[in-house]
Symmetry: C2
DNA sequence: CTGAAAGCGCTTACAG
DNA sequence: CTGAAAGCGCTTACAG
């Protein structure tokens, strides 16, 4: 593979001059510029990014460590992050933690070893050793979706509290009184927050959230299945199951189906995080939709701000309820409707004609 | 950040010796090893992978350029690739082409600039300039899922022909005679092959595949919607729509629903590529499942073989039909059943309890 | 077993 | 505007 020396030789100039034209340095003669360009073309030369990074101490690369790529929410987040990063001239390397702190640390370490310019993380828990070390290491960092209390890093996330209130209003209006939640890991901000938002919203209606109705999940399908089975075996099973993410909702559907029960007739189901498939499930699933694209964009901007020496601030965007039929009532037809919810219950994003 | 010199100073040894213990070189005294280890520990030293790569001319990194990350098939492929790569001591950088040749070339170029050790590609088409150049460039390369005819690179993919025959047998047995397909891009091997397999299978039953029943899609949901609308407006609409991937099946469901029609009563639907959600759609969707995990693993192994100087061979794995209810018949209950298909029509993978 | 030195492919003050 | 030279942080023959 041709190197900068070959180009210099071909152009009859020094490597310094070649480097200057390659980097758009102003003080280069028009003639030199032409000869270098021709030589580059002739040799099919491409600068070695590794050498350049070593010299300049920047890789123009962002690391993104997410809890689970297979979760459509994170897939979309990753996509949005890459798009915005590319627009700003950065590449991104994704590390999939699979909800495992050890794997997360593995990726963080690898990324740091590669000297990425900044790190975007949706932490698996409240602070694995590697994560904490990274935060201290001084590499610019931003949390997305989940964050670690006590670590001084900007957070880009969405606030689901008002959407959860809307959901509970919807459920209460349908006559449901025994509501259960499949939570995410307790060591996770989103795991705790969603339970707390749900509890608070229930409280406003004088409804309790007994421990038996809080199932400990881990944001993966299998846990949704397991927890739902537990709920169904209760002497007084809940009338509604609210899954704190879409994968656990998938698991819940599996469990309900395995029992030969029907949604919403036998039990209602709602989920945090909306996905296109929820329009076509049986029945269509009522869900809380986050503004994923915007979150990804905002996270990248905050991170790049930090990298380039600007402040880089936290962002919180609201989530919103999307009413469908899984809680007992056909979605209202027409532009408005729904129960006590001041937004049209129309499906989200590209999921519906 | 501490460098190797700092470690050497701390340990009272030369950087050469430090490097040797870091790389597990045999001829190092036990004493030196201990002192270096202690110094590394004390300083929290981590080798700079950029410098190491420049020197050794290897990055221990694989590039994976896939056509569309948002497609669950590719998401799972990516995950499997990363797992196997990690097991073999490699990292992977994913580039999402979004079915756009220009974006694909952008990623290929970026990856090559970073001097990745090998490239795994599912090409968007039959050869964009960047892709062809990469194949010529000499970087070890392997195609996954899709490939480019005429380019001499190992191919790891799955053969859907027998599964498509099973599908047509199933459809024919249900009395369907007018079968249509939403194809992938014609510039794509999987785009062409699936149509050809379908046509051949229909031929065995004396059924034609008229041009009007071949809709040109691009593997994305929107095209599935558009093509299906076209089918539904035909004077004689098809009785079955076979979507060549899961996203176009999603689009087809959207279009059918928008028309107020029902699956399978008004029109049957089948899809290539199975996903967990197909178990819970209304109705559950009959699909052809590829052994994705195995494909990812095999692709990485073939690539690493090439990188490390071993042959590295092509692999073709069979796909299989998973019968559900979207074509007109309830899935048979019990361990066996189905029509003329010698495999149990049980749902796939982790999607069912 | 250990160290001094060269060199990987670039960029960038420093002179001219 | 241009070039010679130093140096980014490592690894690895080459001597000893």
């Amino acid at each position: 593979m041709a190197g900068i020396k070959d180009v210099a030789a071909e152009a009859g100039l020094s490597v310094a001059t070649v480097s200057r034209v390659l980097n758009g340095h102003p003080s280069v003669s028009e003639d030199a510029r032409r000869r270098v360009t021709a030589a580059v073309e002739a040799l099919g030369y491409r600068p070695n990014a590794v050498a350049r990074s070593l010299r300049t101490d920047q890789t123009r690369t962002l690391g993104l460590v997410i809890s689970d790529v297979m979760n459509p929410y994170f897939t979309e987040l990753a996509r949005s992050v890459e798009e915005e990063a590319r627009a700003l001239g950065y590449s991104v390397i994704i590390g999939n933690a699979d909800e495992r702190p050890d794997l997360q640390d593995h990726h963080v370490t690898t990324l740091l070893d590669r000297r990425i310019d900044g790190l975007l993380v949706s932490p698996t828990d409240d602070g694995s050793p590697g994560m904490l070390a990274a935060a201290r290491a001084g590499t610019p960092m931003v949390f997305v979706d989940r964050w670690i209390p006590g670590v001084d890093v900007p957070v880009v996330r969405s606030d689901g509290r008002s959407a959860v209130r809307d959901l509970v209003a919807h459920l209460h209006g349908l006559g449901h009184r025994r509501l259960a939640i499949i939570s995410g890991p307790a060591a996770t901000t989103t795991g705790r927050e969603r339970v707390e938002a749900f509890r608070a919203a229930l409280g406003a209606y004088g409804l309790p959230l007994p421990d038996a109705y809080i199932g400990q999940g881990d944001f993966q399908a299998e846990s949704g299945r397991r927890v739902t089975e537990g709920f169904l075996e209760l002497d007084e099973p809940p009338q509604v199951v609210f899954a704190a993410d879409n994968l656990m909702a998938l698991g819940a559907l599996d469990a309900i189906r395995a029992r030969g029960l029907r949604v919403p007739d036998d039990i209602a189901l709602a989920a945090f995080d909306d996905i296109p498939w929820f329009v076509h499930t049986d029945p269509p699933v009522t869900a809380i939709a986050q503004p994923v694209r915007e979150l990804g964009r905002a996270a990248v901007r905050a991170l790049v701000d930090r990298i380039e020496g600007r402040p880089g601030s936290s962002v919180t965007l609201p989530a919103r309820l999307v009413v469908r039929r899984s809680c007992g009532e056909p979605a209202a037809v027409g532009p408005s409707g729904g129960r006590g919810i001041d937004r049209p219950p129309s499906p989200v994003r590209r999921s519906t004609p």
